[in-house]
Structures are given as structure tokens and as C-alpha cells.
């Protein structure tokens, strides 16, 4: 399968619609097509962790990462999210693409209803950063992801918490490596953001489990 170039993938992912009414409590904001495309392209081209693989997306939202993974040749994807409205948009989005190898499960990722261990080859996620009323949720997601993945986990974390995230991951048996530092342009999605947008520094981290 020919690998999409990042620009072509980004173009495709621009067709993925975002949240209609983002929920503050769930820290819902869309992973931009630009970030998603670069993240997924790196995962496939450098580590060969998507094509033919069994992939999970934790906190999938409207599906940009799952759909991108499927476009890059993932064999099967399962996407998990707690918000039925997000999954409704996810379904609409998936139906716009020629994809049938995606399942979705409505659940709280922290209490993931999965009995298999090391079920998936690869887990991808853009977890809530845990900045509002749910401190530590990013690490709860990471812990779940590390239990579900057989080979590797790719996740976005605030650069300011890098040391702590790396330490925790190592204590859970993973070998973390920062692949890229990104500037995440959080649009002023929520009313209480006074500025038009807020830039935060975010790391793309690969957690190796092999």
C-alpha cells in the first residue's frame, strides 16, 4: 500500500468534522488535521506501527486519528469514547470515507471494558490533558493504553509534564521517547478562554513495550 504523504493525508483529514458543541468537562478539542497527519505519518513511516496492525484509539472524539490510521492501512481499529454525541459525529465521519474496518465502543476509558490483555498492536490517543477539573486523567489514559498495547503507544502530553510522564511510563514497564515537540493551537472553543486561541507546548511520545 502506497503511503499517503503528510500533506495528502492532512487534506483527507480535513473532511473529518469536529465537535458540534464541545464539552468543557471532557476537555474536548479536535486534534487538528495537520497534527494528526504528521503524527500518523511518523508512526507508519518510521515505526511501521499502523499498516496491517490492530489499532485502538482511546478518547477518539470525532475520529480524526482513527480514520487517519485506517487510511494508512490499519487492519482493524477499535475506538473508545465516553461521549455519545462525539461517537455520533464519529459515525457520520466514518461514513464519508470508504472504510469498514472500524468499531466504536461507548465507555469510560478509565474503566475500559476489555478482557484481553495486550489486545492491540498499537494504541494511539490524544488524551485529555487533565488541565481542568480532572487532574491526572492523562496518566490514567496512559496506564490503560500501556495495558492494552502489545507493541507501542503513541500519545500527546503537555511538555511541561514531560519528566513526570516519562517517569510514570517507565515505572509501568514502557520505554518512552519524545518524537516531536508540537505547538498545539487550542482554539478558543470555550467561552472562558479570553484570548482568541491559546498555544500550549505538547510532546508526541512513543512508548515502546517490546
Amino acid at each position: 500500500m502506497a503511503l499517503f504523504k503528510p500533506k495528502a493525508l492532512e487534506c483527507q483529514l480535513q473532511n473529518v468534522k469536529g465537535f458540534e458543541k464541545p464539552k468543557v468537562k471532557l476537555e474536548q478539542y479536535v486534534t487538528s488535521p495537520h497534527i494528526a497527519a504528521h503524527m500518523l505519518h511518523t508512526i507508519q513511516s518510521t515505526f511501521d506501527d499502523l499498516e496491517g496492525k490492530f489499532v485502538a484509539d482511546l478518547g477518539c472524539g470525532c475520529g480524526v486519528l482513527t480514520i487517519g490510521a485506517a487510511l494508512l492501512g490499519a487492519a482493524q481499529c477499535v475506538a473508545f469514547d465516553i461521549d455519545p454525541d462525539a461517537l455520533e459525529m464519529f459515525t457520520l465521519n466514518v461514513n464519508e470515507f470508504d472504510i469498514c474496518n472500524i468499531d466504536t465502543v461507548l465507555c469510560d476509558v478509565r474503566f475500559i471494558p476489555v478482557s484481553w490483555k495486550k489486545t492491540f498492536d498499537t494504541v494511539i490517543m490524544n488524551p485529555p490533558f487533565g488541565t481542568k477539573h480532572q487532574q491526572g486523567i492523562d496518566l490514567q489514559f496512559l496506564h490503560v493504553a500501556l495495558n492494552l498495547a502489545g507493541k507501542s503507544v503513541y500519545s500527546l502530553h503537555k511538555t511541561s509534564t514531560r519528566k513526570y510522564v516519562m517517569q510514570k511510563a517507565e515505572s509501568w514497564g514502557a520505554k518512552p521517547k519524545v518524537l516531536a515537540e508540537l505547538r498545539y493551537d487550542l482554539p478558543a472553543t470555550y467561552k472562558f478562554h479570553r484570548k482568541h486561541s491559546v498555544d500550549i507546548d505538547v510532546d508526541l511520545i512513543r512508548f515502546n513495550l517490546e
Partner: protein
């Protein structure tokens, strides 16, 4: 080639991994029973390497029983056969049951508590109430 499918639904692959063990008072919560109101059988691309790799992760007995309970076990053997990696005919049967038989609407049922988890428009709702955690 890829076949177009109008909606994505719950595959038996997904059913095979789901559990209700996170519920208070439930120890195993596996396998979940299936009450299928609408089932769709589709045709998807066969990937023998992927199917071979998934088989060791499956609970074979749960897969067979799930397929049988909704009338779609076909001629899938009740016991997992040896040397399946090189048996394309067998792998195709597994592919069909795992990935082509889909539940659109129905329920998953916890084997211990009887709690029902609705499947609606292909999405199983595994959300628990606060008092169930």
C-alpha cells in the same frame, strides 16, 4: 479492493474482547451474552496474516458460542484446529465470523448480574452508572 459499507457496526471481534468486569460485584463478566435484533452480514477484504495473528488472542469458545447464539456459526469448527496458519479455507471462515457478521441493534448481557448493555446503531453502550462502579 475495499467494499463500501454504509455504517460500521459491532463485529464479533469486538464482542470477544468486551467484559462487564468493571461493574461492582462482578468478578469475570465474560463472555457477554448477545441479544441481536438486527444483524448485517457484509463482505470485507480478507487479510490472512491479520486473522492468524488475532486467533491466539481470541477466546475461541466464546467466539463460537457467540456466533452460534445468533445463528451465524456457519461451518466454523467448535474446536480451534491446529496448524491453522497455513489453512486458508479455515482462516477465511474465521475472518467471516469475526469481521463480517455485525450487530446493528440489540443488547449485550452481563453473565453474572444480568445487566443489559444496549447496542444501538452498531455501538455497544458500556457506560456504567456511578452506583455500579
Amino acid at each position: 479492493m475495499v467494499f463500501r459499507c454504509a455504517v460500521h457496526n459491532m463485529k464479533l471481534l469486538t464482542h470477544n474482547m468486551l467484559t462487564s468486569k468493571c461493574m461492582k460485584g462482578v468478578t469475570v463478566g465474560y463472555p457477554l451474552g448477545i441479544v441481536a435484533k438486527d444483524i448485517k452480514v457484509s463482505e470485507t477484504e480478507f487479510n490472512s496474516e491479520f486473522v492468524s495473528r488475532i486467533i491466539p488472542k481470541l477466546d475461541w469458545n466464546a467466539l463460537w458460542k457467540a456466533a452460534d447464539s445468533i445463528g451465524h456459526s456457519g461451518d466454523l469448527p467448535q474446536q480451534l484446529m491446529e496448524d491453522y496458519e497455513n489453512n486458508e479455507e479455515f482462516l477465511k471462515k474465521v475472518h467471516h465470523v469475526l469481521l463480517e457478521v455485525e450487530i446493528i441493534n440489540g443488547e449485550l448481557v452481563c453473565p453474572e448480574s444480568g445487566r443489559k448493555f444496549p447496542i444501538s446503531q452498531g455501538i455497544p453502550n458500556m457506560l456504567l452508572n456511578e452506583d455500579e462502579l
